[in-house]
Symmetry: C2
DNA sequence: GTGCAATCGATATTTTTTTATCGATAAAAT
DNA sequence: ATTTTATCGATAAAAAAATATCGATTGCAC
């Protein structure tokens, strides 16, 4: 996942926008369109057209054409390559509760180059069952299995109290990147990547925008 | 949710960090500590200490003390106030599938000032049942009930194909902010706030960081 | 074919965000 | 009491990101 050679030169802000471009482009492609302009993308996604062009210029190999714009298929290919959507990476998921099951059940991850190969839980009721065809293993096995499967990405979807220990065990097993859905701050070494799926932060930002809108109408 | 008078002056970047500070401070408070330094926060959260001080200065009413740092209780109070964690806002949730149920089942939202008052679904099997004590209504009722309940926030957790229509109906009912968990771009009027919970984007960023780490070790 | 309009890419400017520097201050140590 | 040290807040500098400007190009309408 993520082409090591190229993703380096792309700013974090740009990376964050690529999935939105990707979706928009897929929609347009499905609608039978062949080209799209930066103006059109910007308008739809509420961005600045220059910003869109700049983003595309750093990831794309082909130039746009005046009056027509960019080849949709080319851009999709470029984003796939940069984000590594076309080469699949394995991951393990810890936590088969509500959120964990929802994540395990979401087949869409395959489109993003993520393949969940094992699920862990500590509840004996759940162990050895399956979610979405993926076997649930005893959480005791995390270290052992992660190492054996040679997995670099771990997804944490356990209650907050258990998250730190799970993180520690994943790291002991060799995981180098953690996608954390538990609402806690994880304490990890420098050389481990952590991305917090921070619902509270999202909600805060949404709330800010709502407040701005309501004020502007007063 | 979100104090209208003050949230305005706080940058989006800062807002995005506040929940992380909040969690960290709550941890420290629970551990019985009274004060904390910007240095300590920065170290734990992998941020810059100056940035932490600047963030705190725009949201806090009280100054830090040399050698001691900031009063934890004060800071928590300030963040609560800015993010509106202490006054609850109602929201409706659409979609009682895997993800929707997980969201409805997460009681932690209450700590973030969000209260889900109704769930909608179009599946007759689910209608009139409950999730986590919240009644599931027929999706046909969205417009009607949203208006009657006077709810301003809608959460979308339906399959991608249905998301746009759900958004339209929420807006017709009077919703002004949408928290979108469906992996599609929503087309909404200017005066509606949308926050996409973009799993693909998160994954992309995590992947970038992982790539950077792996490269730096080569 | 000619002219118009839409779009691009490049460069410049502005804005925002992050980081560095440094004197002042207050607690703790001597 | 004096010194040391950790920390703050303010200001300055640097870096990153977003936006504006503009000449060049190309398809499309006439």
């Amino acid at each position: 996942m993520g082409n090591n050679k190229e993703i380096q030169n792309v700013s974090k802000a740009t990376i964050g926008r690529l999935p939105a471009y990707h979706r928009y482009l897929k929609e347009k492609e499905a609608a039978g369109e062949k080209t799209v302009s930066s103006t059109a993308i910007a308008e739809e996604l509420h961005l600045n057209a220059v910003q869109v062009r700049k983003d595309l210029s750093v990831i794309s190999t082909v130039a746009g054409k005046p009056k027509l714009g960019f080849e949709i298929a080319d851009l999709i290919g470029d984003i796939n390559r940069i984000l590594g959507y076309d080469n699949v990476t394995d991951a393990v998921l810890v936590g088969a509760g509500g959120l964990g099951s929802a994540l395990a059940g979401y087949d869409g991850f395959k489109n993003y180059g993520l393949n969940i190969v094992a699920v862990f839980d500590s509840d004996p009721e759940r162990i050895d069952k399956t979610v979405n065809g993926i076997r649930i293993f005893d959480a005791e096995q995390i270290r052992h299995l992660v190492r054996r499967l040679n997995v670099l990405i771990g997804i944490i979807a356990v209650p907050r109290g258990a998250a730190q220990q799970v993180a520690d065990e994943l790291i002991e097993g060799g995981v180098r990147a953690i996608w954390n859905f538990a609402p806690v701050h994880l304490n990890v070494p420098e050389n481990i990547a952590v991305k917090n799926e921070d619902m509270a932060a999202s909600l805060a930002i949404l709330s800010k925008r709502l407040a701005e809108i309501l004020i502007s109408e007063k």
